[in-house]
Amino acid sequence: MSDAILRVNNLQTQFQTRNGVLKAVDGVSFEVGRGRILGLVGESGSGKSVTGYSILGLIEAPGEVAGGEVLLKGQDLTRLKGEAMRRVRGAQIAMVFQDPMMTLNPVLKIGTQMIAAVRAHDKVSRKVAWGRARDALAKVGIPSPEERLDAYPHQLSGGMRQRVAIAIALLHSPAVIIADEPTTALDVSIQGQILAEVRRLADETGTAFVWVTHDLAVVSSLADDICVMYAGRVVETGAAADVIASPRHPYTAGLLASVPAEHEPGERLPQVPGSTPSLADLPPGCAFAPRCFKAGPACTTTPPVQTFADGRSALCHYPIEPVSCQPLSSTSTTYRSAS
């Protein structure tokens, strides 16, 4: 894809710890196009949040972005410092956190905060800013936005607060929004509402989303593309539907196989053995090798990124052959009501 708005190339982010350097993000690359949603999936500690923070220049000592590029419409954000980065952040690229209170100030009214957020980048009157704040709330599906502008954060439900955080991210029509597990703490019915709104926003406004989550089902219903991380590295990328129907990396395959809903009730679930390794003490070569059913002699050396004809890639010595059968949905039971 050449029309990428955001292109991350070989990103390296490290933390200095007592026991040496921790490579939390180790050569991550991906890209997102206009109006597209990239699902960044991985288990806890795999480096998803650090990737998001690195893109926005939010890594602080003892951490640092030690290498690579973050190209937003061709401009390398890793080279921007201080004030220059602040001008980009919030205007051209914005972040939504798992906890909306990372964005919201508990003692200020929603309206006050949103007006300040508008005026941080655009010198408009308070009245104009208020109008834009109201429109942004309406855009994310908040009923009676005028009233909400007059409320304090604690007067809103968790789902509403997260919508407000998304509305704030949208205020300046950024090219890209990085959303870090924004629905993980929310209930399914509220999560469903937000996912539906985000899909609509991406389609209508052209804003690109990097949607960080550990939930494969969310990625499956929301994302166009998927990027799977394991131990600080990208292990598989591709169109979400393709990856889910036919994963090429053994780790992705293991994750998908262990989802209970894809099995007969009561059946023993295929499980990935072992546990997630600590970054401080990764095995040499492929970090997944001790848990991998396909591991072979080459796996003690760093695997290559193999790219395939359909635009997909996998970081693996022995990637799984593609299956050409039907996608999962036609073989598995669904929870649809009969009516």
Binding site: Q155, S189, I190, G192, S221, I244, S258
Partner: protein
């Protein structure tokens, strides 16, 4: 059909909620709030047969954990009673609740908070059985080793502290601690919610193995419909403190009856269903401080009629082993 092991009879639980710090500050600003009553569980009845696994599903705050704690004898119900093998599980002693049985054990929602960080896990697992004379102190070490082995942990781990374990391992320890009490009924509160996907499958497999080996009866609490379908024989769907539907698992998933159950199933994102294929439930989850009148689901229900605002539907039989609380099943919504 075997006899009921657990009988939950018209149980309700109310909490008195004092205003939080934030609300008190807001109170100073003019939006005053007094002490209020939370109706966490309202008039729930349910019987569980020996050997059965009943899944308890619902969204945050609907009362799953509260009902679980009542079953485990940690809370006494405000109304109604819970009988385990015909004897009450708890009694109220002034302001304290006294648990009356060791045969019901609970595995708590958060495996990080539920283990004492300063105790070796061997001592954590041994504490209950030694106190209740299930095992003699001098045999405790071997007993703990056996329990850890049962949940797939190396017995030598018993000298370690909780922080030395991953989330999945801590959950196994919590299960071992409950099993060490030789319970007849296990209440598992979101046992896999905090675990990574690849670890979830390990713990679910463990649960299914233990169930077979030990002939366990269990209440399995989860908000994850896929997980509950996988492990439960019957499922109770809760909404705002009430059970709105109860059915054998396969029948429920094949043909949900209650509008909330239907909407919930529709709104859940699924692996392999594909993009955009989910229809969210409109509206917010009302606060249990101010539940709507009549049917609690009426403000969000696409089929609600005038009667739904006036009258709460009772959970009533709609077929063999199936019950639902909706006016559409009897008399209509007008």
């Amino acid at each position: 059909m075997s006899a009921a092991l657990l009988d939950i009879d018209h149980v309700s639980k109310r909490f008195v909620k004092r205003p939080s710090l934030g609300e008190r500050i807001a109170g100073l600003l003019g939006a005053g709030r007094k002490t209020e009553i939370v109706r966490a569980v309202s008039d729930v009845s349910l019987t569980v047969r020996k050997g059965e696994v009943v899944g308890l599903v619902g969204e945050s705050g609907c009362g799953k954990s509260t009902l679980g704690r009542i079953i485990a004898g940690i809370y006494a119900p405000s109304d109604g009673k819970v009988l385990f093998g015909n004897a009450p599980v708890a009694k109220e002693q002034g302001r304290r609740t006294e648990k009356l049985t060791t045969q019901v054990q609970m595995v708590h929602q958060d495996p990080f908070a539920s283990l004492n960080p300063r105790m070796r896990i061997g001592d954590t697992v041994a504490e209950g059985p030694v106190t209740h004379n299930i095992v003699k102190a001098r045999d405790a070490d071997a007993y703990v080793a056996d329990m850890l082995g049962r949940v797939g942990l190396d017995p030598s781990y018993r000298r370690r502290f909780p922080h030395q374990f991953s989330g999945g391992q801590r959950q196994r320890i919590a299960i071992a601690r409950a099993l060490a009490m030789k319970p007849d009924l296990l209440v598992l509160d979101e046992p896999v919610a905090s675990l990574d996907v690849s670890i979830q499958a390990q713990v679910l497999n463990l649960f299914m193995d233990l169930r077979q080996d030990l002939d366990l009866t269990a209440i399995f609490i989860s908000h994850d419909l896929g997980v509950v379908r996988h492990v439960s024989d019957r499922v109770a769907i809760m909404y705002l403190g009430r059970i709105v539907e109860l059915a054998p698992t396969a029948e429920l998933y094949a043909a949900p009856n209650h509008p909330y159950t239907k909407a919930l199933f529709e709104s859940v994102p699924r692996v392999g269903v594909g993009r955009k294929d989910f229809r969210p439930i409109a509206g917010e989850i009302p606060s249990p401080l101010h539940p709507p009148n009549g049917c609690h689901f009426h403000p969000r229900c696409p089929l609600a009629g005038p009667r739904c605002k006036r009258e709460a539907p009772a959970l009533s039989a709609i077929g063999p082993g199936r019950a639902s609380a909706c006016h559409l099943n009897g008399g209509g919504t007008d």
